[in-house]
């Protein structure tokens, strides 16, 4: 575990082609780290949305960073459809692995437990299941009288990446009740985290904070990134920048509009990287 000086020190650890798990916009998305990946020109990522994507994934798609996307949905929420995602899927420019929320959680839990699959209710008869070569519907191997059951494959990302309000100097990261971040980190080989602030208190020392803390055992690298989830929400710290997201939703409908928007959005990231 290392605490790095800047976000770019984390982004350079993610090579082209890496399998990267990303939380949803409402759960501490690493927007700043994603912009650093865009600036460094990362290509062919296999991104797993846990379980849905928003503006951050849409930007990564628009910037050409993503080769394969696995998600239960991608949307800008109240701001409407995710424009670059929509265009990419319609044109077939990315490979889309359509999933459903609980299957993504279960696949990560399988990796967390080191087993090749997880059984899951539902799914049978869905075209999602029918189109997933890595899932199976089998007769219940326990013969519990409940009929066939679906099995979903373990999801083992190379990297889990997310943003958090704080980590301590030992690299223990506050996740609060965002337990999907913990499952992501357990399932992934490495976890990279940006934080608003590195704090002096030991988050594991007190049971009250330990309850919402991911141990540094799972964390490879941390860097401070002020407003690192912006324009998305960081609950308890700042709200979503609805105006920015609405502007994006409108401008990114065309390739040219997207590029103009990103030119502005990335200026700050480029400046920081050049420092």
């Amino acid at each position: 575990m290392n605490i790095f000086d800047n976000v770019e020190a984390l982004s350079v650890r993610v090579p082209d082609g890496a399998f990267v798990a990303l939380p949803p916009e409402y759960s501490w998305v690493p927007a700043s780290l994603a912009r650093a990946l865009i600036v460094q020109g990362t290509r062919d990522l296999h991104v797993l949305c846990v379980p849905i994507g928003g503006i951050t994934v849409d930007m990564l798609i628009g910037a050409g960073c993503i080769g394969t996307l696995e998600a239960a949905a991608v949307s800008l929420g109240e701001a409407g459809l995710a424009p670059r995602f929509t265009e990419a899927v319609q044109s077939g420019s990315i490979r889309m692995k359509d999933s459903t929320c609980p299957a993504i959680h279960a696949g990560l839990q399988a990796a967390e437990k080191g087993v090749p699959f997880m059984p899951l209710g539902g799914l049978i008869g869905s075209d999602i299941e029918a189109n997933r070569d890595d899932w199976r519907v089998v007769p219940d191997p326990m013969e519990s009288g409940n009929g066939p059951i679906a099995l979903v494959s373990a999801l083992k990302p190379d990297f889990a990446i997310f943003h958090s309000p704080k980590a301590d100097r030992h690299g223990n990261v506050w996740i609060g009740k965002r337990r999907e971040l913990m499952v992501m980190a357990h399932a992934a080989k490495e976890t990279l985290v940006t934080v608003e602030k590195v704090v002096d208190e030991d988050l594991l020392a007190d049971e009250a904070t330990a309850a919402g803390t991911l141990s540094n055992l799972y964390v490879s690298g941390i860097a401070e990134a002020k407003n690192g989830a912006w324009p998305s929400v960081l609950h308890g710290v700042y709200e979503a920048d609805r105006e920015e997201i609405a502007t994006y939703a409108y401008e990114a409908k065309t390739v040219e509009g997207f590029q103009a928007f990103m030119e502005r959005a990335l200026t700050h990231t480029r400046l920081a990287a050049a420092e």
């Binding site: 929420g77 459903t100 609980p102 049978i124």
Partner: protein, 251 residues
């Protein structure tokens, strides 16, 4: 008192929840302001029922085990009602939240929508799923969906404690009979007609012996909706609360 279309739909859904005492806990997913308002209205009117869990909300959110908890909770039988929509819905209650397909079908996408979310699971495990799709047109209500995000009915040997019970649109309320795998028209919202419903539905459906006229909400009910419910739902859906109820988010 004049009533907005969204308000009528909220009241139709609230009635479906209020009239069923087995509905003790309702979960409301992402981007569901009308169902969310209906649950809160029901709770205001019954005084205590149902418990409303609005996921992704900061209030009315009991979940502390991460994003998977709502799904686990539903599979445990602790969620009695849930809402799903669809880009397309067909006469067997198959729902498609993914998009319309191009030549040869999936994965060739003609028009893509966000995706299936948790539908392929919740549709199986929640006893009372209410399908909610305001737009009532032949583009939505098709004879056969292009992609089954979640099937309306399942083979007998498939474990399925849950499934669709009702469909609420801008025109009408339908019930769904899983045995027959068919919808039945129950009531039509004024000023619409049975013929209008038929003209705008791409699948065959049954018609109740007496199709009711959906009652318009009373003034008292609208007052509750526009005050207490509006403020509460505004915490999760500020844009909706502003547009429909004219309630601006607290600073």
């Amino acid at each position: 008192m004049s009533c907005q279309p969204e308000e009528l739909l909220i009241c139709v859904i609230a009635d479906l929840l209020e009239s069923d005492p087995t509905v003790r806990h309702v979960a409301v997913g992402a981007a569901s302001p009308i169902p969310g308002s209906a649950v809160l209205l029901c709770r205001e009117e019954t005084g205590d029922r149902p418990r409303a869990s609005i996921i992704h909300g900061e209030t009315n959110n009991p979940f502390t085990d991460g994003a998977r908890e709502i799904f686990d909770c539903a599979a445990q039988g602790r969620i009695d009602a849930f809402f799903l929509g669809g880009v397309q819905i067909d006469g067997q209650a198959n729902i498609n939240l993914l998009g319309t397909m191009g030549e040869g079908g999936y994965p060739a996408i003609d028009r893509r929508f966000p995706g299936s979310f948790g539908s392929a699971y919740m549709y199986f495990v929640v006893p009372k799923v209410i399908l909610f799709r305001p737009e009532h047109s032949r583009r939505v209500f098709v004879n056969e969906v292009d992609f089954i995000s979640a099937p309306g009915v399942s083979a007998r040997d498939v474990h399925r404690p849950g499934g669709p019970k009702f469909l609420v649109t801008e025109l009408c309320l339908m019930s769904f009979d899983a045995e027959r795998a068919r919808f039945r028209l129950e009531s039509v919202h004024p000023p619409h007609t049975v013929e209008e419903v038929r003209d705008n539905t791409g699948f065959d459906f049954d018609v109740a012996d007496t199709v009711l006229v959906t009652p318009e909400p009373e003034a008292d009910r609208l007052n509750v909706l526009r005050s207490r419910v509006g403020v509460e739902i505004g915490h999760t859906y500020p844009g909706f609360a502003s547009r429909v109820f004219g309630i601006e988010p607290a600073k």
